[in-house]
Symmetry: C2
């Protein structure tokens, strides 16, 4: 779709990719991001150990390989620390329960309301 | 390289790819091949379980993934049940200790001497 030219009617709020991140907000974001990533990785470690322990058949070896490959790709994809997409990332992490809202405390109200809005969508 | 025309000087022995496999030999070969494959897979299962149990860091997750991917490719490559290459496969399996010579009993002397010769090379 092609954006309509704005013709003097500015959008009511800044585009997500254009939000400004203060040094304090960047520190909060980095910590929250790393916390969520650590949680996700711990889950995958636990699951991989459990799957490996259950292996009886060779086919289950390659299922473990597939599981690890998929999780690695998903994590690479979803844990994207670019400020231009970070509110989308945080919204997803809230929805998935990998972050709690209070762990984002320190982000300004505009960012928080965007993140909440996307998380609920 | 281009083969020289034979000009009435036949090679002293049949090419490996042209060896003839009797029904009995095919049964022996199939059983030996499956036994070796099973041994190899059991080793990989044991090793995968041990590696998974040792995981502490996320990097070790992806090392396990790499290990499984490499082993799968190697097994796909090396366990090639085409009669045209089977003596080479058996020679490698003997060398690797995945088969014992007596497990090939039933193959004719020409095949056995070829396999032994390659295994020692």
């Amino acid at each position: 779709m092609i954006d309509e030219p704005t013709r003097g009617t500015p959008t009511p709020s800044t585009e997500i990719r254009d939000l400004n991140w203060s040094p304090t907000e960047r520190a909060v974001a980095r910590k929250a991001f790393d916390t969520a990533l650590q949680r996700e990785l711990e889950t995958v470690i636990r699951e991989a150990k459990a799957r490996a322990a259950r292996i009886r058949q060779p086919s289950e070896l390659w299922e473990l390989e597939d599981y690890l490959t998929e999780r690695r790709k998903e994590i690479d994809d979803e844990f994207d620390y670019r400020y231009s997409v970070l509110p989308l990332v945080f919204a997803r992490l809230l929805r998935q329960g990998l972050l709690k809202e209070e762990e984002l405390r320190g982000l300004n109200e505009e960012k928080m309301s965007r993140i909440r809005q996307i998380a609920k969508a």
